[in-house]
Amino acid sequence: MLLNYIKIAWKVLLRHPFYTFITLFGISLTLTVLMVLTSFLDHLFGSHYPEVNRDRSLYIQIMIRSDSSRNSRQTSPMSFRFLTEHVRPLKTPERATIFSFFNASNAYVGTRKIKLNTSYTDAEFWRVNQFTFLEGKPYNEQTISSGERVAVITEDFKEQYFPNAEESAVGKDIDVENTRYRVIGVVTGSPITRLFTHADVYFPYTAPKSNYQRESMNGQYNAIVLAKHKSDLPAIQAEFQERIRRLPVPGVDGDFKYANINVKSETYVNNFLSIILDGGPGLKAALIGVISFILFMLIGLPAINLVNVNISRILERASEIGIRKAFGAPVRTLLWQFIIENIFITFIGGAIALVLSFGIIQLINQSGWIAHADLTINLSVFLISVLVCLLFGFLSGVLPALRMSKLNIADALKA
Amino acid sequence: MINLQNIEKVYRTSTIETLALNNINLHIRTGEFVSIMGPSGCGKSTLLNLMGLLDAPSAGRVEIGGETVTQYRDKELARLRNQKIGFIFQSFHLINDLSVLDNVEIPLLYRKGDASGPSRRQLAREALEKVGLSNRMNHFPNQLSGGQKQRVAIARAIVGQPSIILADEPTGNLDSAMGNEIMSILQQLNADGATIVMVTHDETMAKKTHRLVRLFDGAMVGDSVLMSNA
């Protein structure tokens, strides 16, 4: 039966190449946009190189302190010392890393200037994040405590800095802001969209200018806490909150008198959202409004369009429907026939969209628009797309099919 | 009023050629009420279409009200149809989405620069009064009976005060009572000065006209004046 329906659907599509084109165009375009968008969101929020353990990680990025009247509020990352005191002793996690947010800098080679981002990290950084070492190895606790001036660089930076890319960079020196460092490892870079792990050059936190000795609570460091298992995350959050709650308030830090301290450990998505939505409920409402409007337009408009095209197509087939009805086809059969026809065409559109999305994603990855971008169509992206296809086909088929089933036989035959 | 000379009409498809009309010569004078009869497919409707300038002959000359239209372009043909000719069809051809008054008004819409909105509606009302439907002006066609629909169509045909009325089986879809009613309206219009050409299947209707033209297989096989009515 189903095969029969599909055969009919195929014939109908061939009979009206123009409508088939319009329909397919609309469907594949919409689905392409959705797929690329999903893929991009997955790129932003999913667990990907080198943050492959993101799903069992908590991010500690921002400390918010306010005075007793809450007139003055300070939001900033924390100092190395503060994080060492309060994150290191946590018992529930498997491990934790403390590292600075990347900072822009320049290196000079002859008459050339190379722009680069630097980050200061501890040794755990290389265990929490799974970087691929093309050459050499990461620095460990020993290297750090000995105060050796070493650096891990990315493949891209190596190519820019060293004229001979064939040779190994390990053991060679780089000069950043008038300080020399010995390269001990070369890794594949992390894209700029992964703000916590992105950098071109990684230094041990004991390197010059890292400010790890800073006494204040605020600073330029973040932490990632890795749980043994995903289910441990709430326990870790509770343990960390307990420590933060026990911090003495009110207190004085530098010349800032604070009465409240709030540091959150959040999953990546929540952390991202809380920072974006920090502007207060007004901004949140506006953001949600704008996003839902765009989504509505993105899905709603093509859907309405499809329904419209479908309705006019179905009226064109009124006499066919009339004959089928006259020969005793029950309404439900006709309804299903039309819906299946629609889902069928949606899937053809979906297949085209998959190819298009794949092309666009390759284009984005290769354009260098986002350095080291690694957008993919993985299983979850694909499944979401299939689901959207089904929904889309169903929705755009039901309304016209209902209208068709109401068609009176005599009228249908006459038209 | 209408003059057809050596008319020929050929329908061509890629495989066959059909001769719909063959060497028709017909002269219809002002004020005549002519009926055209013949079996299905004999070319009656084609002939009517040619007279109504809805179609062009393959060969021959068509004259309407003294104007030879052979060389006329679309604009001039449209003007003639609009001003000199009124159409009545078997299946009425009313626009279902428009009210009776709006339907009747249509020909006036295609008239250049003439009549403002209110005066157009006034003319439409007058036309509807003539067919006795002034109480149904704001109804929609699907709320009317067949006879009423045909009266609306007649009102539409006469609203532009054309000198020629072409009717394509105007009583074909109606029962005899309604048919007679329509027929008497047409006769009244004819008495008021309109030239009427009517295609019909119905012998009794044809007998109420002045002149009967018979067609068979695209050729004129008879042209008789019914003196009793003239």
């Binding site: 084109f21 408009l301 095209v309 | 428009l98 709006d102």
Partner: protein
């Protein structure tokens, strides 16, 4: 005739609902897009207020070095000014032009108040950025002796705080401080061409304070990375703990442009696809509906409609549909200027509405032209015989 078309559409409004919704939604999408574009274009047309070519920003960080920061800073400034390659140098707060950071504060004068962008800079700022003054003069070190700290404001700040009053010599209150206006510049679009001018106040830098350690330098044209490397090396030899990062303003300007243009481009592409989609849909629907209405077309032809009046009829119907949609859309879009959403200029919304209306009509016309032509070629006789 227009009345006729309106009646025809109105009486069939149920069948046309979805079509109207579709055009309505397209109108709103267009409105969003054109607001964004009009906003950016109108910003772009305002003068920038300064020049940025050959200007570098040196961001200095003292890190953990807290010993004699001001003295070191002054030495570094002297050294920078001594280079032959440096035409002019100015020390300022970290929010240098096109940078990511901003400072703003409420400023008041009498009862007028304005949320103003604040820049702390020394006396060479205007010279380094080649900013023309429209009134008064830029402050000099000699001005720091007075009771009030000297400031220069831009025209917008002047308009909001002083109206038609002459601001020179008047006092502005901001935060805990009081400031005396020394001069007025025209505009200062610190975030690049695509951001609108904002009320701006330039406050004299305190050379004895340890903060505000960004240095803007104007170098001679053609100065390259060799000098830059030397500069960084010299600074970090004078203060070994310190960090020095050099940014070309042309680069940071590009970043700001990307920030403004990338969303516009993405939005433009998506809207473009949406509109193509809608246009094709309308085209298809119109084709079907004309095929279905061949009888009616024939009738109209029989009643005296010319070919062109049939064409216009269908184009007209689409215009009427579009008018319904646009009127509905205007009710919504009209709220934006009325309620001052997103704090944009009313003119931006009005222009955007105008553009969207024109484009919507253009799209429906484009979609209607071909099917309407087709409709006009329908032979009256053929059309009537179909039923």
């Amino acid at each position: 005739m227009i009345r006729h078309l309106f009646k025809l559409i109105w009486n069939k409004k149920k069948a046309h609902t979805l079509l109207i919704i579709e055009i309505w939604a397209s109108f709103l999408v267009l409105f969003g897009l054109s607001s964004l574009i009009v906003f950016n274009v109108s910003n772009y047309n305002q003068p920038l207020g300064f020049t940025y070519e050959n200007v570098w920003a040196i961001d200095l960080r003292n890190n953990q070095d807290t010993v004699a920061v001001t003295a070191k800073m002054q030495t570094i400034m002297q050294r920078i000014r001594s280079y032959a390659e440096v035409e002019s140098a100015s020390r300022m707060s970290s929010n240098y032009p096109f940078s990511a950071s901003t400072m703003n504060n409420n400023a008041t004068h009498d009862k007028a108040t304005a949320m103003a962008y604040l820049f702390v800079a020394d006396g060479d700022f205007a010279k380094t950025l080649q900013m023309p003054l429209t009134a008064g003069r830029w402050y000099t070190p000699a001005d720091s002796i007075g009771k009030f700290r000297p400031v220069v404001i831009n025209q917008l700040a002047k308009d909001e705080l002083f109206g038609n009053e002459d601001p020179l010599g008047k006092v502005i209150t901001s935060g805990d401080g009081q400031y005396k206006v020394m001069g007025v510049v025209e505009t200062f679009k610190s975030k690049g061409e695509f951001q609108g001018d904002k009320p701006t106040i330039f406050e004299q830098l305190n050379e004895n304070a340890p903060w505000d350690k960004t240095v803007l330098i104007r170098v001679k044209p053609g100065t390259d990375a060799v000098f830059e490397a030397k500069l960084v090396k010299d600074i970090t030899s004078m203060a070994p703990e310190w960090g020095a990062e050099v940014t070309y303003l042309t680069d940071s300007r590009q970043n700001q442009h990307n920030l403004a243009l990338v969303p516009v481009t993405i939005f433009l592409i998506i809207c473009g696809f949406l509109l193509i989609n809608v246009a094709l849909g309308l085209f298809g629907i119109l084709n079907v509906s004309i095929a279905r209405r061949r009888g009616e077309i024939g009738l109209r032809r029989a009643l005296g409609a010319t070919e062109s009046s049939i064409s216009w009829h269908f184009v007209g119907e689409m215009w009427v549909l579009a008018t319904f949609a646009v009127v509905l859309g205007l009710i919504l879009a009209g709220q934006f200027p009325l309620m001052n959403v997103f704090d944009l200029d009313t003119g931006v919304y009005l222009k955007a509405i105008l553009i969207s209306v024109v484009v919507v009509y253009a799209i429906v016309t484009l979609c209607a032209v071909y099917p309407s032509r087709q409709a006009a070629t329908v032979q009256p006789a053929v059309a009537l015989h179909e039923e």
